[in-house]
Amino acid sequence: MIDTLLQDLRYAARTLAKSSGFTAVVVLTLALGIGANTAIFSVVNGVLLTPLPYQDPSRLVVVWESKGTSNHNVVNPANYMDWHDRATSFSGLALMSWAGLTFTGDEAERVQGRAVTPDFFGVLGATPLLGRTFRAEESRPHVPRVIVLSEALWRRRFGADRGIIGRAVPVAGGTARVVGVMPASFRPMPYGQEEYWEPMPLDWSNRARNGRYAMVVGRLRDGVTIERAQTEMSRIARQLESDAPDFDTGWGATVVPLMEQVVGGAQRTILVVLGAVSLVLLIACANVANLMLARASSRERELAIRAALGASRWRLVRQALVESVILALAGGAAGALLASWGVHLLVRAAPPDVPRIADIRLDLTVLAVTGLVSMAAGVLFGLPAALSRSGTAIQGLHAATTRTTAGVPAARLRGALVIAQVSLAIVLLVGAGLLVRSLQRLIAVDPGFDPANISALTITLPDATYPDSLRRVAFYERLLERVRSMPGVQSAGLISWLPMTPGNAATSLTVVGRPEPAPGQKPTAAIRIVDPGYFDAMRIPLRRGRSLAPSDRLGSVPVAVISEAMVRKLWPGEDPIGQHVTVDWWHEKVSVGIVGVVADSRHDGLDAEFQPTLFYPFAQESQGGMSLVLRSTLPPATLTRMVRAAVSEMDKGLPVADAVTMYHHISEMMADRRYPAFVLGLFAALALTLAAVGIYGVLSYTVGQRTREIGVRLALGARPADVLRTVLGGGLRLTLSGVALGGMAAGLAAGALGKLLYGVHPLDPVTFAGVPLVLVGVALLAMAAPARRAARVDPMVALRSE
């Protein structure tokens, strides 16, 4: 048994080496199918399937506040404290908020972090790599600053020095004592890229409610379900509505499993891509099955001889399967190589907000799945060929010696496989077409400002050295003066939160002179702090009133400029100039006068609605972190260097982030749409190529089989054009059948793209009309060579070969 199996292996290897063209096409086709699948499965495994790297992660949840359609709203710390005291569903409930720290010393560096309650690490079940986590007393106000580092930061900045524990390191405004280092497996929480943690100072005796800005993570007690926890949290939220009606009316609480929170946004994209790549594998398998069938037909003579020499049906099937499995394994191996390259490409091209992107790698599980897929593919495409050949071979000694064309069932099967390939390719092409059309629509959207030649960089002034508004304003005004006089800089401005970057700052407000709205019914607006030059630099036109002026400073009358969306929301049909508002978050008691209206500009991406926005003059209400926008044709790297030099002269050691073009920011915001369009486009191109190879293969084979018949026809007076028409007609019939079936399937599948589409209907007529034209065009190209070969058959040569 083993001996004859080895013999089969040897013969199969030799036969495949001899037909190197066939082997190469099959292996490459499988490699593309398996490689693409392995790469995508690596992403699925890394993002969706691998459990989160925390202890018993299925019990971890995030608790949000909710209001109206916004059910993932950040949390007010006092509400958190009440949840913590009243809820029984959780064994631990920790609060965290975003933080940042500037390390000083030889090289200043600004790093992102989280301020957390001391039980944060305990709730997640995480233990430090070195040292310890926080003690309860370290979260009290006015205690010496302590921090826990991430392993990456510890290695990068402190050279993996194990003696760092207990040491006070220089940070802006003083020092921070390092008490622990968390291992690399301890990943950042959702919506963060934290590299260090610090205790969140929380005064449990003060439940004054002011602003929502934190996140809550909890661990469910054993036996408590999400539903039960949700019911309890909703009950507590209702209690808080009556306890603090001014602040909490209309607000609820939402409990979300941490895993769902981490992968939620990316899930649809990844599943759509997974579906697409499965179609590519199916097309690849259909292609290979077709090639194997054609090959089996051309080897009927050999099989008939083998049958005549005593080969049983099983031996013939086994030999065919051995060949298939060798091809599948070779394809699998080549596919694994392609996949390792593909994973790299996918990770590099992935949008920055794809969760757990750093965890994606070609791991052993994925390799095992590749192996299984390739074996299954081997059996899948080997079996029809083997059964077909064994059936004909046993009865076929006579057939083999009298040279027949392929059997009708085999020809039908090949035709059906081509139709299936074309159908699947149509589904992928339509999906890619819809996404590309969405992107086109999105790119055409006016952001409300002119992004050309705009670069932006962020500077954060430490509270320790810039504790008050006066110093901050003085710094930024001097900086603006220097930057505006730099050669190549046309204009410059400052804004507290750059457009086309994730996140927002918004709060509720009251229009002075109007009746107080019912609790929870106050209007909200986005808040931005800008300098007077910002609107000019961004080319945001003034619609009414005046813009902000350098004279709008501390001590002068508080003023603001608002966006048109805010006018539509609060003063429809009225003149807002001269109206006054009070803003709950800042200036709660101060009446701010509206002096101008500027055109709307988009903040959260090109597909976002215009937000009602209120712009404060920075000289009246400054903050430490500001983005400097520069209109200049100079490359961002040059601008970074120039600004760094200017900042360094003013405050040596103050970190300045790299300048990034506004187009880059826009592109990042569109990444969650661009990525699936890119991947689906890639797969659609692959599918189109494979379908073309399939059509070419079947027609080439058919022409080869019909050479004698074509020779006879030509000898009897047929013109080459007649032959051409016959061959092209056969190919077109298959293609059009596939187009019709694929069109219907695509119509059903397009709905799955859902929110990935923008401004394009899932049954977009342009896509559904254009895609078949592209496919038929490519199919005609694939048919050209075999059709021409058929038309050029020399009747004498064809008949003499008999």
Partner: protein
């Protein structure tokens, strides 16, 4: 025996072939019958030695025994020097010699030869017919289908067929 497209009664070595199941007929064929074709039908991708080995491998004979049978047959047919050559490297006569060697290697009781010299030069054809005569003397029954009167003369019994009917 390999196809079922016939009617009537057919007995072979005391077996009522017409009453046998296809699987048993194939087994009977495998055990007792060897084939020689007009177009040799050697397997193109296998060497001479491997072509000889093929019928043996389909009969579950152990490797050692197969190697010894192949070596004996190569020697017996005087083609030892050709054992590693592929069919395309042989002349028509040499290919048919290998085909006959392959047909007899598993010691069949009956060889069915379909126009075995049809593609050969007359001198090569003569050599093959003499080989058949030798095998026949050694106890193998040869059934040859031929249009050649000269080849027919080598037979002990000649049956003439015309349009599918026995005429003599």
């Amino acid at each position: 025996m390999l196809d079922g497209d016939w009617t009537g009664e057919y007995r072979f070595l005391d077996h009522a072939v017409h009453q046998m199941k296809p699987k048993d007929r194939i087994a009977l064929n495998k055990q007792h019958i060897g084939f020689v074709f007009q177009q040799y039908h050697l397997l193109d991708d296998l060497t001479v030695a491997e072509n000889l080995d093929v019928p043996l491998s389909y009969r579950d004979i152990k490797k050692g025994e197969r190697q010894s049978l192949v070596a004996d047959t190569l020697d017996r047919f005087g083609i030892v020097a050709k054992k590693d050559l592929f069919p395309r490297q042989l002349s028509g006569g040499q290919q048919q010699l290998v085909a006959v060697a392959r047909a007899v290697i598993h010691k069949p009781s009956l060889i069915l030869a379909d126009e075995p010299t049809g593609n050969l030069h007359s001198s090569q054809g003569k050599e093959i017919m003499e080989l058949f005569t030798e095998l026949n003397r050694a106890g193998t029954t040869i059934v040859q289908v031929t249009h050649s009167d000269v080849n027919a003369q080598y037979g002990n019994r000649v049956v003439q067929l015309q349009d599918g009917w026995v005429v003599k």
